[in-house]
């Protein structure tokens, strides 16, 4: 057995984005020794790319706002599939989480009376997003990073050691959550720089690893978004819910090819930008769905009047929730009314003065000028949908962020499922990170304190197994018998396998889905799994990106299968899941969560389906059995006082008659 260093910590946080850092701050402030482990350098997490703002009903710009209105908007945006308790906690606590950032040094843009300014965004009834130009995520991550540093400075004053109670293990990756007797006991990690393995022993582990976008070809996500936390949770015995719901942000760059997918912030539309097709038509007026008809303007005149006088005009349809706008753009392009590079036009140049654009949208101005030779103050941008966010994630307890079924495991932020239902509203992600990051840190700390005297000890066998798995791409791991028999087959290049995976998911489980294509996707995923097993890398263990990718493939393949299997099963269209063959939203599906777990390890005979098949009743038995089992679960009914926040006429559109009359 190789010697592997072990360290003991009270709480381990996996991920150093908004949720991870907020969790770490909380656990440390509870007095516990907290380790943060992240794949990139400290302060580089994907949160920096968030642009528009943090949604919180502070009511600084419109006094009509309050948590109830925010809750309503969130439920509508998610088409009522949200875990309502999470949506409630989120709406109630978001303002406190934003104000707290100011006490840590954040500098938001201001209203004329000196309070935090708030901007309009899709699906939000009032101006609600606290922001700093269009670089809000950077402000968030830097503020949290600097708060962590300030806590380290306090510890240094006290003990002479900056890292006495909070330490960031940067550029390290977790490959396994370890368990003893069904409880979490720590994490197995490698350090990118040296390739060295180490174990952090801890009774409580918080997953805050973000999303899965790197399984898709066109995405706004960075390389880190390989679904690590989703996969770690599955492998540790937890469940994922809502994995069929993937958000395609309506506006990503489409040209040049090398930047295709990079995000164009929704603030462009929130601040007055409009979408036009190749005929110059503002097409969004044609795409307002019935459930939103009363709330959106019917003419350009009314829409334009809303920016100045929101009380007597309805909002422009460009500010519909993201799923609606993305589908509309997709339809326009398909109908032959797209822009030269296969998108549509997003224009601010005719809507506001150049100086205003530069002040309000500085990074967009910079990004288009530097990367596409487009001056957005003088000409329209070309934009199209890009894979942006996964609504699905770890099945957690709403109040404590504890993963169901795995004591000691917690999840917060994008890796947790339920909060956003079938579609997330813009701005609700950063607030989600803060609200549930804090809760995860708090409850992980409480859990760890409760188990202080009976810390699980990590067994050597587990460590050896994890090390062997991690070394397999070098060809030195212990491959099982049946794989050794296949060994003569050609080694695979991990980069090629990754590209093939991205293409398959993009083409077959993308923004518009069909049964045959998803069945084919499952076939291809099975093949890719075989190929990934043969992935071989060159060189040694020091900072070797080929090796890192080979290990990440396991995670991407697991979550991709969850997405494909759940999407195939859900025979309706809702939020971030659009079925060409089932285009309507079905009230019967409203209360259903599709729950993914790891299938029994023994390979099942083809066509046998799984436990899932029987329970879901609609399994198509697509080809080879995979690694994921799927079952359908009913959601608890929405609490009465929360239901009463809505008009009956609106609820009829979402809830079944039975649900409406069951009180």
């Amino acid at each position: 057995m190789a010697h592997v260093e072990r360290q003991q910590w009270d709480v381990v946080i996996v991920g150093a984005g908004g949720a991870g850092l907020r969790a770490a701050i909380e656990a440390r402030e509870q007095g516990l020794r907290t380790a943060v482990i992240c794949k990139s350098l400290f302060g580089k997490a994907h949160t920096v790319m968030a642009e528009g703002g943090i949604a919180a009903s502070m009511g600084n710009v419109n006094e009509g706002d309050n948590w109830q209105v925010h809750f309503r908007d969130t439920m509508r945006g998610g088409k009522f599939l949200n875990q309502w308790r999470m949506a409630e906690l989120h709406a109630r606590e978001a303002p406190d989480r934003v104000w707290e950032l100011e006490t840590w040094g954040a500098l938001f843009d201001r209203t004329p009376d000196g309070r935090i300014s708030q901007r309009n965004f899709g699906g939000h009834e009032y101006p609600r997003l606290a922001h700093v130009g269009d670089r809000t995520g950077l402000e968030l991550i830097r503020t949290l990073q600097q708060k962590v540093v300030s806590l380290q400075q306090e510890d240094f004053q006290e003990s002479g050691d900056y890292e006495a109670r909070i330490k960031v293990f940067q550029e390290c990756t977790v490959t396994q959550v370890l368990k003893e007797d069904d409880r979490v006991s720590g994490v197995f990690c490698y350090e990118r720089e040296s390739g060295r393995f180490f174990v952090l022993e801890s009774p409580a582990v918080v997953l805050a690893t973000g999303g899965i976008g790197k399984s898709f070809k066109v995405t706004s996500n960075s390389w880190e978004y390989t679904g690590d936390g989703h996969a770690l949770a599955l492998l540790a015995g937890a469940s994922l819910i809502n994995m069929e719901f993937v958000q395609f942000h309506p506006t990503g760059m489409v040209w040049p090819p090398s930047v295709k997918g990079i995000l164009v912030t929704e603030s462009v539309r929130g601040d007055g930008g409009v979408l036009r097709n190749s005929e110059g038509k503002r097409f969004m007026f044609d795409y307002v769905p019935d459930v939103f008809k009363e709330k959106y303007a019917e003419s350009e005149q009314e829409a334009d009047g809303w920016y100045e006088d929101p009380d007597s005009n309805r909002r422009p349809p460009e500010l519909l929730p993201r799923d609606e706008v993305a589908r509309a753009i997709n339809a326009e392009v398909k109908a032959g009314r797209g822009s030269p590079h296969g998108g549509v036009f997003l224009d601010v140049s005719t809507r506001m003065p150049a100086e205003t654009i530069k002040r309000r949208l500085p990074s967009m101005h910079h990004q288009f000028r530097e990367l596409a030779d487009v001056d957005i103050t003088a000409e329209p941008m070309e934009v199209g949908p890009t894979c942006h966010y996964v609504m699905g994630g770890v099945d957690v307890d709403s109040d404590t962020a504890a993963a169901r079924g795995v004591p000691g495991l917690f999840a917060a932020g994008e890796v947790a499922g339920g909060m956003h239902g079938s579609n997330r509203l813009g701005g609700n992600s950063l607030s989600d990170l803060l609200v549930f990051g804090r809760r995860a840190g708090l409850h992980a700390a409480e859990y760890a304190r409760g188990h202080a005297d009976e810390r699980p000890r990590v067994g050597d066998a587990q460590i050896d197994a994890a090390a062997a798995e991690a070394l397999r791409p070098f060809g030195v791991g212990s491959a099982p018998e049946e794989e050794r028999a296949r060994e003569p087959e050609a080694a695979e290049n991990p980069y090629t396998v990754h590209q093939d995976l991205q293409r398959s998911m993009n083409e077959l489980v993308g923004i518009i889905r069909r049964e045959e294509e998803m069945s084919e996707a499952l076939e291809r995923l099975a093949e890719l799994r075989e190929r990934a097993r043969r992935a071989k890398v060159e060189g040694h263990r020091q900072f070797n990106p080929g090796w890192h990718l080979a290990l990440d493939l396991r995670n991407m393949l697991l979550v991709s299968e969850c997405v494909a299997r759940a999407a195939l099963n859900r025979t309706e269209s809702r939020g971030g899941h659009t079925r060409d063959d089932h285009p309507e939203m079905d009230r019967e599906w409203r209360r259903a969560n599709l729950v993914c777990t790891l299938a029994a390890t023994a390979p099942e005979p083809p066509g046998a389906g799984s436990e899932a098949a029987a329970e879901a009743g609609t399994e198509t038995g697509a080809g080879r059995a995979g690694r994921i089992a799927l079952r359908r679960r009913e959601m608890p009914p929405i609490r009465k006082d929360l239901l009463e926040l809505f008009e009956k006429e609106e609820l009829i559109k979402y809830l079944t008659d039975e649900e409406l009359t069951s009180e």
């Binding site: 580089k44 406190d96 104000w99 400075q153 990367l371 290049n493 090629t496």
Partner: protein, 262 residues
């Protein structure tokens, strides 16, 4: 319509530094370039087709995270924001790791120096009399510090600054432009209450973070991918204020009195 015509693709010549702490050298590559690509695209193509273990840091590929800092033809730049079209097609591009920091492997350097310096700047001090939600600040007052908070911590300014670029011995005493700017940012924060706790940020810039080493050659400003006017807006004002504090007894006295009465 969406596919680029063949005429826009060409083969480029690259020299990429490969090696580790024990040494290394430039390796030659010939690699395909397509329309609209940036240098990071080419490095990724090398990884996927010729050098799978070529080490490079990157994250967002959109100029927002500041991870992919390196030197192209000797100039500190972000690989993701450097278009191939700014170079001649027959020019050989030389890509090397940041020179001011110890190399880890290939294009990856140990930037730990910056994290050490970050810890040495005392954090924001919240005003005692204001609770969360009670902060009131005017846009024109937060604007100055907001410019510095645009910093993506790519550390290109730290790399190019001649005080430390070829002078390892100055690193202990000198925080570098990024962290002197951080001092300026906190000093200009409308509600920072450091003074009430006896911390004078202006004089610490001089006395503890090595502001005196800076002789305003503006190299940092030139390489900043966020176009922050580091020298003009952060360092020079900080120097002026530090000088006021140090040499002008009236300013010193005035500050003492004002602080007592507030």
């Amino acid at each position: 319509m969406t596919t680029a015509p063949d005429t826009t693709s060409y083969d480029a010549h690259f020299k990429v530094w490969r090696g580790d702490v024990d040494g290394g050298g430039l390796e030659d590559f010939t690699v395909e370039v397509n329309e609209g690509e940036v240098v990071l695209d080419i490095i990724h193509r090398l990884q996927a087709t010729q050098a799978p273990d070529l080490a490079v840091r990157w994250n967002c590929k959109a100029g927002k995270c500041g991870s992919c800092s390196a030197e192209i033809n000797g100039r500190p730049r972000l690989l993701c924001m450097t278009r191939m079209s700014v170079f001649d097609r027959d020019e050989t591009l030389t890509v090397t790791p940041l020179r001011a920091f110890p190399v880890v492997r290939d294009l990856v350097t140990d930037v730990g120096f910056n994290y050490e310096k970050a810890r040495q700047v005392p954090a924001f001090v919240p005003p005692q009399d204001l609770g969360p939600g009670e902060y009131r600040m005017q846009q024109e007052d937060v604007g100055r510090s907001q410019e510095f908070r645009k910093c993506i911590e790519c550390f290109l300014c730290q790399d190019t600054c001649h005080v430390v670029r070829d002078h390892e011995e100055n690193k202990t005493a000198f925080a570098g432009p990024r962290f002197l700017m951080r001092v300026a940012e906190l000093d200009m924060h409308p509600l920072d209450a450091a003074e009430e706790t006896g911390l004078d940020r202006k004089s610490t810039a001089q006395e503890e973070h090595g502001l005196g080493y800076c002789n305003i050659t503006k190299c940092c400003t030139e390489v900043c991918p966020e176009h922050i006017k580091i020298t003009d807006n952060a360092l020079i004002p900080l120097k002026e204020r530090a000088a006021d504090r140090k040499y002008d007894p009236l300013v010193w006295l005035g500050n003492k009195i004002r602080r007592r009465t507030s």
